[in-house]
Subunit: 221 residues, 2 copies
């Protein structure tokens, strides 16, 4: 029985491509490419720094990922531009079906478990007026390592005081789902882009194309 | 003083894009895209599985990366096709300047330190007739975790019985150089594509555009 639902934040609830308009303001025509390289680097830094044992928090990695993206595209920048674009992470927009889905999930205990810092997560939730939905907002920063390390997933079961098998973990990132499943959660993969299953040795329990579909599918479980 | 030179294998000595012609045989017009997604997935799996604590050796990850790439591109495959394309990893071709560079490096002790399995590494070295250059061929498989984990870099100092500061570690992968530098080696980054430095908190000791340039630059050090 599912007693709580724990959501990943970036690209699951909030679309990281919401940064594109601000990128376009400074670099017309480059927004989509900046966003793509930025996200890739941000994630790779999270895995590489975790493995190196050279942790910096996700805000630092977000800024570093943007700087790398701009340098790779040979786009000149300064501290103010980087700050203004990075700050968009506080204002990422939810996917269109998120509010409707959260209202269906709501009778259960809902939480966020993300690589983002507590500050990044609280701000994006607040700026989208979604404080009422989440009883717990949990950051990987507490264990100084990033997903898919089991220490990160362990934070949610511990904080919610529930058994792993009572928690539905929801993410659109296939590797995040693999990490959560490997740890022991029930997993729901939001596969919006019809991507292949990541070949990481485990399979998601639910595969759906939207958050709303998952909310409806798991309503009576 | 540099007493030994330790080389990364894939994309440093051997060009992973050597797989493209075989990909083109089976999937005309798709070779470059397959190779790009394949390599990305192979590396991401190495980081993700290391962090999850769900290790499989690099041959498995290489096959899995190829399967993912073919699925993402909606290209049908079977076991025989995957085997024949993956086997190209035993026949990757060195970059054009590798032989000349190795001849200059050769008076020192030379070694390979790679994510690849011992079998993958010995075969690619042998198939390129380069056995004579390398006194040690060292695989991350010995510690069941991948670069940039410090355990992997530690294998080389241990096996060569040298101090970290007597070893020049050479890679074209910026994150690999960051891991080696963080561990304590002298590092030479072969930046063939004029990429930005990875923002991982450390800087390479040497930045060059070819292996030959590094060989000449470090000849008397």
């Amino acid at each position: 029985m599912i007693r709580a639902v724990v959501f990943d934040a970036y690209n699951t609830l909030y679309n990281v491509n919401s940064v594109i308009p601000k990128c376009e303001e400074f670099y017309p025509g480059w927004g989509t490419q900046i966003s793509l390289i930025w996200r890739t680097q941000q994630l790779q830094y999270s895995w590489q720094r975790s493995l190196m044992g050279n942790y910096r928090n996700f805000w630092v990695l977000t800024v570093d990922g943007l700087r790398y993206a701009l340098e790779e595209l040979r786009l000149p920048y300064n501290r103010e531009i980087v700050k203004e674009i990075s700050n968009q992470y506080y204002f990422l927009r939810p996917y269109p079906d998120v509010t409707e889905a959260l209202n269906i999930f709501f009778p259960r205990q809902l939480a966020i478990l993300s690589n983002g810092t507590a500050d990044m997560l609280h701000q994006v939730v607040k700026n989208n007026d979604q404080d009422k939905y989440f009883q717990n907002i949990i950051s990987a920063d507490a264990v100084k390592i990033f997903k898919p390390a089991p220490e990160v997933y362990g934070l949610a079961a511990k904080e919610l005081k529930l058994n792993k098998k009572e928690i539905l973990f929801v993410s659109s990132n296939g590797w995040d789902i693999a990490g959560a499943k490997w740890y022991g959660y029930i997993t729901g993969w939001i596969n919006r882009t019809n991507s292949p299953i990541e070949k990481l040795g485990v399979k998601p329990d639910y595969i759906v194309s939207s958050l709303l579909e998952l909310a409806l599918k798991t309503k009576n479980i």
